[in-house]
Amino acid sequence: MNYNLNQLSAQQQKSSAYKAVKKLLQLIAHEKRNLLLAFIAIITNSLLQLLGPLLIGHAIDAYITTKQYRGVLITSGILLGMYLLALVTSYLQTKLMGSVGQRTLFTLRNTLFNKLQELPVAFFNQNKAGDLISRLNNDTDKINQFFSQSLMQFIGSIVTMLGAGIFLLIINVKLGAATLIPALLILFFTMIVSPWVKRKNAVNLKSIGGLSAEIQESLNNFRVIIAFNRRDYFRKRFHEANQHNYTTAIGAGMANNIFLPVYGLFSSMAQLVILTLGIYLIASHQFTIGLLVSYLAYATNFYNPLRQLASLWTSFQVAMAGWDRISQILSLESNLNPVPEQKKMAATSALLSFRDVSFAYPDGKEILHHINLNLEAGKTYALVGPTGGGKTTTASLIARLYDPTMGTVLLKGHDIRSYTATERTRKIGFIMQEPFLFTGTVKDNLLYGNEEYSGTDKVHLEQAIQETHLQKLLALFEHGLDTPVTSGESISLGQKQLIAFMRAVLRKPDILILDEATANIDTVTEQLLSEILNQLPATTTRVIIAHRLNTIENADEIYFVNSGNVIRAGSLDHAVSMLLQDNRTS
């Protein structure tokens, strides 16, 4: 399955758009009450702001021109009350809407992270870490900005505009209609330009993701850059990404800034219309000066929010472009979910078997061809063969990091796909070529993802370590369980492999796969590891991939893996001679 976010097919994209909108609505569905309250606050606030000029206009016509100062004072009193109310409503609208925004951002990030956790390893192999981080942080923040700042102003502006528009029409239909014509032109303009603006922003967000990926890759591998004196190369590559981002950002910026001047032009046109037409109407006694003054105020009330909408509209377009990128992730489905067993398989005594298994990575070449394999409980199997022959792929299929393209993998006689992740991972332990540690202590890493011992106190844990004969390995760490480790370079590869080994053994799996798991451990310590492996429960099956022959000499059976074929070797000698003679590379 294709998981590359930058190369999703049109089909995948299309289904994503629909699901995305649905998802977005789901995200804010539970906020109904808060949204409702916020709307009420926004509408009240906008109405209060609209009523102000009306009262002032009324005061001019009714009291100032007739020189009744008492009326002016009464109006002022009413206004004061309104302004106080507005103080409360405007606080509420920001508070409520902003909270919805923050919580939505929170939910959105959680949903996204959760989705990331659901997706299979293939997804991570096909996408760059930096780009994913950018999607999780940068793109969600664009949506947050829209929610917490823009949406409120957006609604407020629309309400104010609608109200002002209605007042304009009520006071004088002819003048009102004329005043609103420029707004209509703005609407057309916006409709035409928006898709272009969104496209420009999408391109820009993509280049931001690319830039972030570039940084991530370079910084995490900085040793190589220094040791090969490629600081200049780092700078050059970064400058390229930076320059590309600059170009797309200018494109997006130019698109985003087109609205403001145009909106300004049209709103000035509206004022001109009011002035000339208004005075004409006054001259023909259909209108008063007082009304003209408040009319101008309403026109400002109509066109100022419209001008604000210009920038809000931009932030909406940016948010939509960000949302598209996020929903690309949300639209992906893991292809490794448990599936009910299709057909009954012939009974087998093997703990794990491959039935006519073939496998190809999404980029094409078949790595394994028609493999048949039976692994019995309690036995030790070794996979040997030249690099790139398919050993790691075979191991990955046993752990169901991938599903075979053809054929079936059976675990205890059942299709491995019919097990839930929890059942499967409890049975299968896999120590990978490149050990990964989380920042924390040795203990954190030993117990990482281990349900049995999570929350176990130190005494019981040490007991468990004794039982699995790991105490000697643990003693190699200066502060034992409490030795601090990081995901970075502060700890040697050999030590990382030791921790990964202990982590897997503590989980007491039925099948333990060691993929070059001890390659960087010295041979003396390695003997310790083989002792521990020998002391595993009698039913544990071991699958060992190694280049060092002494690690596999005790294997019950040896398989020779090369060019996508798995051949059973009669003996260690046979395996070695195959290894030496067979020069085919895959």
Binding site: F124, G253, F436, R548
Partner: protein, 580 residues
Amino acid sequence: MPKHTTNPAKPSSIFSILKPYKGLVSLLILFALLGNGLNLLLPKIIANGIDSYTHGHFNFKTIITQFAGATLLVFIFTYLQTIIQTYTSERVARDLRTRLADKISLHSYADIEKANPAKLLTNLTADVDSIKMFVSQAVVSIASSLFIIIGASILLLSINWKLALCVMAIIPVIGITFFVVLKKVRALFKKSREIIDWLNKVISESILGSALIRVVNSQQLEYEKFLQANVQAKTLGLSILKLFAGLIPVIVFTANMAGLTILALGGHFVITGRMSLGDFAAFNSYLAMLIFPILVIGFMSNVIAQASASYQRIGMVLDAPAAINAGNIKAVLTGHIQLSGVTLLYGQKPVLKDIYLHINAGSRMAVIGPTAAGKTQLLYLLTGLIKPTEGSIEFDGHRIDEYEQENFYKQVGFVFQDSIIFNMSIRENIAFSNTVTDASLEKAIATAELRDFINNLPEGLNTVVSERGSSLSGGQKQRIMLARALAVEPKVLLLDDFTARVDQQTEKKILFNIQQNYPDLTLISVTQKIAAVEQYDQIVLLTQGEIVASGKHADLMKTSADYVQIFNSQQTTGNYELQS
């Protein structure tokens, strides 16, 4: 580039970032002011129209030409302003990123690890973005807002100074409110960036460790970690929000009070005949004009607060002293290396203790020893990736930092223990620059036994490999790393457990190839396998940071019990090694 204050206690103001762009910023402010200045005239034109109408000499044509002309100019100026605005802000962002990247590129390896790549990522993305926002929005908005406020104030004063003073009383009130709130907000912004660093770290670990997470089925655990950071982010976001939710209504209310004053006091003036109705209308319009820029300054202060916090963080990176020593020796290395009394401490913990080593030019040395003996650190010291706490490392009698860096690294090849593959073509991964000649590249590929593998790829050398090299097998990655080190035609080659992931037959071939194709090479190899290095000129046994034995294989077999133990641990399959 402006010189930055190196005193961290007194960070330069965010505005100092604009210095190199004086020309653009001036142009920007000029257009903004022209646009806004003309905008100020519009109500005046309208007021004139109303007044001239009440006086009975209203002229449609003059009004329309005046107004339309002003409007058109406003449009042109605003448009120019937005273009320059985009251009300037993007340039500031680009240049800032370049400066940061250039600075980071001068960092030493230890600096980068200390600075934490996740934080540097935030510096280069989120922090630069908030400064960009500052340039694109705050600069112009504040300039034109101030201009409008001052312009409108002058006009108000010229119409009726008593009323104007009452209205302008709102400005200090608003100023003080901002000052108080922003002071609180700034601290929160700084904290929120730290939380973003944290989020980045959790995300990044969950991505880099994705395979492990799936093998042990710990997705839930990762989610909980993420949740913790995300909850913090939310809490902080809500507290920032609370401050702003209070700020804006107070300002609007204050502005509304000014409107009220105009009505009550201005109304009184009109009634008593001390002010015209047209002026009264203009007063209202100018107030409306005054409120908007005040609000804008409010929003922008938010932007400024964020940008200042970001700039401070970026400043810390920019102001950090560069790690590069300006050595100038350009000599060709012979490969003669001398370590005298080298000690390396990580914190308090000694990793290497008082190491003395003498390596002859063109000789081969092996370093063996248990896990965490300090073998890799020894190689890092030899490449200058880290510096010894005590003692000296000399190549041909000169310390590493006396050599010109480029010249030095061109002659020292290093194959790291773990595979580091970039998301580039295989050619770029090996040549790693455009300066490697095709002949050197070919030789390196042939030596690393990669020829067949590359020939079988659909696009050969131009095949792009994925980040973390996940489409390659462990051995393929390791051999690409070797080819990368050989492509620079090194005089000294450092191998860190290179053959751990390469099958025995290929390993033999490669080691033979190296001897054949690079005969003068000084080779230092960290390894686990004695069989492969029995013929070496010197074998060093390193344990817990100390050299416990050194000499030729035959000598060590006689003198070192530890060495014999390691040798014996590998002997069970020794007969197979001999066969080959």
